[in-house]
């Protein structure tokens, strides 16, 4: 990571409490402009909480969150989103009573859906075109995940926060996701991706941060982590088991 350039997103000593539980214990994280940063770590390490805290869905009890140099720690969720930060939650957040079209229509906050951009999206996710006027609740899990990511793509965004997109998906679909995220990166979007699947993460990530017990315990390039099995074993333990 080039430290002379200001990071797009920077968390500095962020603590988050959820009710009586203290989840984040001072997260320091810098996400550079452009490229894909992978946020790894075992279950309960605080990855999801980190994304939700950035989105303002939970409020940091201490520390600062900066986006493009501006402090957004106190921002309400809609105001965070209006900075062109898109969020794909773990549960996908699909509006299941609405059609695929209506889901995307609501995601296009600034205006009507752009036909050319839709065609570009349909290139990665043809199912969305097929089921354009169907209720989103009827889609399969993988299709819902596609729709959720497509919502984050309908308008150009600056930062994408994606929570475990590969969870429960078949390998063929994961391949599609890799292509789609790659296309977004080429468009210049910065992506912060929470992942447990190291195989998937290692194919896509440029940089990586590893969390444990509510802190970031390692940050560096993905290439360095891939090249160092010992470090992997120490940091990720269980994740190696699914390395295929």
């Amino acid at each position: 990571m080039n430290s002379s350039v200001q990071p797009l997103l920077a968390l500095d000593g962020v603590h988050t409490h959820i009710g009586p539980y203290h989840i984040l214990h001072g997260v320091d994280l810098a996400v550079a402009k452009g490229g894909i940063t992978m946020l790894l770590g075992r279950n309960g390490a605080g990855k999801t909480t980190t994304l939700r805290t950035v989105m303002g869905l939970w409020h940091a009890s201490a520390g600062t969150i900066r986006f493009d140099g501006n402090d957004i720690s106190e921002f309400a969720t809609p105001d965070v989103a209006r900075l062109d930060i898109a969020y794909v939650p773990e549960n996908m957040g699909i509006f299941s009573d609405l059609t695929v079209r209506e889901n995307l229509f609501l995601a296009a906050r600034k205006g009507p859906l752009d036909a050319a951009r839709l065609d570009w999206i349909f290139g990665f996710m043809p199912a969305l075109k097929t089921f354009w006027l169907q209720r989103a609740g009827l889609l399969s899990g993988g299709q819902k995940q596609m729709l959720s990511i497509a919502r984050a793509m309908v308008e150009p965004r600056r930062l994408l926060l994606v929570d475990e997109p590969s969870k429960g998906l078949a390998p063929a679909i994961i391949q599609n996701l890799i292509v789609a995220f790659g296309a977004l990166r080429d468009e210049g979007v910065t992506i912060l991706l929470v992942e447990q699947n190291f195989n998937f993460a290692s194919k896509l990530g440029d940089t990586v941060a590893v969390m444990d017990n509510g802190r970031v315990v390692h940050a560096g390039t993905m290439a360095a982590l891939v090249a160092d099995p010992e470090l992997q074993a120490r940091l990720l333990g269980l994740s190696l088991d699914s390395h295929q």
Binding site: P89, D97, L98, L106, Q134, S140, G168, L169, A170
Partner: protein, 341 residues
């Protein structure tokens, strides 16, 4: 991670055809048909059916806002009935001020009088609704116990204010001249006002249906009912949406109050508490948060209470409870459960 739980990509033919849930909607005609042999005489049955539809649609006006507010923000306003009472009293006052219009035999002037009364009731109730939301509801978001207590307390206080403004006596509420009496079709007598109530209720339901299905605002409300956080994460301020829905819901309750006053031809402060019971039954039957369910539930309750009120008047209110229990045994989350995430 394990791939055994992976979901295979669906092909086109795998996708089930959109299952429209017709069964609950069918309950309404089924109930109407079942009632015919029970009531015995066709003219009486027709009169009761129209009365039931009118009452059901008035209940729908009042209940729809409450169910949406609950769906959107998980707020149950136990003081909703106060907007009904307020609307009824504002309606009484407006109508009595427009004595010339109501006494006139011109249908247009009569209708204008009711329109003005309904509008005044809606505006006053909507405005008070915004204040109520700010003072009573906002400080206790997410705290269900306090929410119930505070909104109930708000109702006690507001009821006393209404008593102070309008006095404790029940007010007769005269229907305008050309809306008194009934149309006679052969043996069947149908009260003119009930017909008007049915038309108005259907018109508002249609407008609400279009708003919720055809406009961005409506889509946002529906999306918000399912997943408020995600709507915010897309950059929309659900708070404003909620205040709007709360105000609109209060305004509709006010309008419903005026209509219910005209329906009963009598207005008392108890009108709010009295209706609250029916409203709760209706939105529980419909499925908390569902406008469509609320519509069907309101019709069922309105019809059942008119039929049973005729066949066995002693168990009238009990019949609504029985209806609710039966429906919850069939569908524990109500007729149209709202898919939450």
């Amino acid at each position: 991670m394990s791939m055994s739980a992976a979901i295979a990509p669906a092909k086109v033919e795998d996708l089930p055809a959109a299952p429209r849930d017709w069964l609950p909607i069918l309950l309404v005609p089924i109930l109407i048909l079942l009632a015919l042999p029970l009531v015995g005489s066709f003219p009486t049955w027709a009169t009761l059916t129209i009365a039931g539809l009118a009452m059901g649609l008035i209940i729908f006006l009042v209940a729809s806002g409450l169910t949406l507010v609950f769906g959107l923000m998980d707020v149950m306003n136990f003081g909703h009935g106060i907007f009904v009472a307020l609307g009824a009293f504002v309606g009484v006052t407006t109508i009595s001020m427009l004595g010339g219009w109501t006494a006139s035999s011109s249908f247009a002037l009569n209708l204008a009088a009711i329109g003005c009364a309904g509008l005044a009731a809606a505006v006053v109730a909507g405005t008070v609704g915004i204040a109520f939301e700010r003072v009573m509801v906002r400080p206790v978001y997410g705290l269900h116990l306090k929410q119930i207590l505070v909104t109930m307390g708000g109702m006690i206080v507001a009821e006393q204010v209404i008593l102070a403004l309008w006095g404790p006596e029940a007010r007769p509420m005269m229907r305008p001249a050309s809306l008194q009496g009934s149309f006679i079709f052969g043996d069947v007598a149908i009260e003119k006002f009930r017909l008007l109530a049915v038309c108005l209720g259907l018109a508002i339901f249609a407008a609400m249906f279009l708003l919720l299905n055809r406009t961005k605002l409506g889509l946002l409300i529906r999306a918000g009912v399912q997943d408020r956080e995600m709507v915010e994460a897309l950059g929309y301020r659900v708070r404003f949406l909620f205040i709007g829905v709360f105000a609109a819901g209060s305004a509709l309750a006010g309008l419903g109050g005026t209509m219910f006053g005209l329906y009963q031809e009598l207005v008392t402060t108890a009108i709010g508490a009295q209706m609250m019971v029916l409203i709760f039954i209706v939105i529980i039957i419909g499925g908390l948060g569902s406008v469509g369910g609320c519509f069907v539930g309101a019709l069922l309750v309105g019809l059942a209470s008119n039929y049973i009120g005729f066949v066995a008047p002693k168990v009238n209110l009990f019949s609504s409870i029985l209806l609710m229990v039966l429906i919850l045994l069939w569908r524990p989350q109500g007729l149209f459960p709202v898919a939450k995430r």
